[in-house]
Symmetry: C2
Subunit: 174 residues, 2 copies
Amino acid sequence: MNWEEISGSVCPIARTLAVVGDRWTLLILRELAMGNSRFDEIQAQTGMSSFLLSTRLKRLEHDGVVERRQYTDRPPRFEYFATDKGKEFDAILLSMRDWGVRWTPYNEGQPLPLAVVVRATGEAVEPGQRLPAGAFPFRFDECVTAISPAFAHERDLRRDAFFDARRHPRGVDA
Amino acid sequence: MNWEEISGSVCPIARTLAVVGDRWTLLILRELAMGNSRFDEIQAQTGMSSFLLSTRLKRLEHDGVVERRQYTDRPPRFEYFATDKGKEFDAILLSMRDWGVRWTPYNEGQPLPLAVVVRATGEAVEPGQRLPAGAFPFRFDECVTAISPAFAHERDLRRDAFFDARRHPRGVDA
């Protein structure tokens, strides 16, 4: 059995995995959910090679999960956004957040890396609690989010490391 | 950045992916959630090579997601079960079911491959609806499930194909 066959399974979990069942793909969707839309910024935060990121984005575009919009002509450059199909995947990311907070503890007592509040109702979306009625179906773009200092710092470090490495390729101008 | 680094991220989604972010791993967890506990039966339903399945199960055991119990001495044979950590992953499988039903349609109008009802309350757990209060936190082992004829048939076909191929390896006794 291969993933082409699995995409034709009666089981909706198997069909979902055939579309997005790859760690890198899920990290890309996390970045899009956080409003990160630029190729190199996504690369910086995921640590993917540009070949791998490009391959995964093309596949997601083909599957209707991601859309690409051109934002400059010369050179042609694109931004990437989740479609409705991609945005509704946020519910899966959120359930991963819940599980991760509970089962892969990290810096307990620190604030959540991303505080999430339903924009329309002001309800907090807390791990370990049932989704507020106003947050269903869950989409990050219907929420207000606030990144924690620790997560912002981790992301800044990644970003700096990525763009530094690009400006100063190892062995070229050491 | 590699997955060792990602497992140390502040982000609980990234940490979750570092444990289970592999399609095969998620299919294994689906099988355990369905009560399939035998190595070769899991292999039959996932189509994994025995090497790959064995590697993934060892990793899940190491991460505390799966436990192994011996059920015969000679030869030594084991069954595999989700731990609490693994069982609480069911919430993620359920959110994948929701997304798959909605965005990867298949035989619309047919019954769901797995009907799920909370044992304690009799509430149905339906895709596209907020989780019933009695189903939170979600675990399949707190539900009664009924497999649809189409999904049962698909699984029977897979099982037959797997065990037939094992009894009659191609080219050996054609």
